[in-house]
């Protein structure tokens, strides 16, 4: 059981690390939203799954209820995080940010 929890936590940390590196290294506003929208969501799923599995080491009503609440957090994040990312993209489109092209340097 502990091995599965450790593997899930390390996998979630790897996803968060990839998301953070993507947020720093991407060249453009729209391409920065790509790791921020996806990898944080999947990293939240992996780490909360590991923590909920660790919480069930002895089965009781309270522990099962807390684990179900953790998966409610995951359900809410899976709805809210892509919606927030889409809202930021919409704000960028309305504010007139243009795409990143390779040959265009600073004016």
């Amino acid at each position: 059981m502990d091995i599965i929890v450790t593997a899930l936590l390390i996998f979630g940390l790897f996803l968060f690390l990839a998301g953070a590196i993507g947020i720093i290294r991407m060249p453009d506003f729209y391409s920065r939203l790509h790791p921020a929208g996806k990898l944080d969501t999947l990293g939240t799923l992996a780490m909360v799954m590991g923590l909920a599995l660790y919480n069930l080491h002895q089965i009781s009503i309270g522990n099962v209820l807390v684990s179900v609440k953790m998966f409610l957090i995951v359900f809410f994040v899976f709805i809210a995080s892509p919606t927030a990312t889409h809202t930021i993209v919409d704000a960028g489109m309305r504010a007139g940010l243009r795409h990143w092209t390779k040959k265009k340097k600073r004016n």
């Binding site: 502990d2 929890v5 450790t6 936590l9 979630g12 940390l13 968060f16 690390l17 998301g19 953070a20 590196i21 947020i23 720093i24 506003f29 920065r32 939203l33 921020a36 944080d40 969501t41 990293g43 939240t44 780490m47 909360v48 923590l51 660790y54 919480n55 309270g62 209820l65 807390v66 609440k69 953790m70 409610l72 957090i73 809410f76 994040v77 809210a80 995080s81 919606t83 927030a84 990312t85 809202t87 930021i88 919409d90 704000a91 960028g92 309305r94 504010a95 007139g96 940010l97 243009r98 600073r106 004016n107």
Partner: protein, 95 residues
């Protein structure tokens, strides 16, 4: 296992510092908003880990859920506020 949770929490704080670079030095205000969103989604996990460290998970899971909801509302409100701002494209070339 508790000490492993402590190490994971410290690593999560370091990743939040990495995302903080985009908040501090982002060219436009929407880039800073991306960094705030990423830090908020890491904070939800960090609150659950703190709950395991203090052995009060039943209390901290509610705090994490409320924080996730607050982060969502804050990002949507800020994005709706900043979408009328013009001149972001010229601002994005100031590194």
């Amino acid at each position: 296992m508790i000490s492993f949770f402590l190490y994971v929490s410290v690593a999560m704080c370091l990743l939040m510092l990495v995302s903080m670079y985009r908040v501090l030095f982002g060219p436009t205000v929407l880039d800073r908003l991306i960094g705030v969103n990423a830090i908020g989604s890491k904070t939800v996990i960090l609150l659950l880990l703190i709950g395991f460290l203090y052995e009060r998970v039943d209390m901290f899971v509610d705090i994490a859920l409320a924080y996730g909801m607050l982060n969502f509302v804050a990002v949507i409100g800020a994005a709706r506020y900043f979408h009328k701002r013009k001149g972001l494209y010229e601002e994005s070339f100031i590194d």
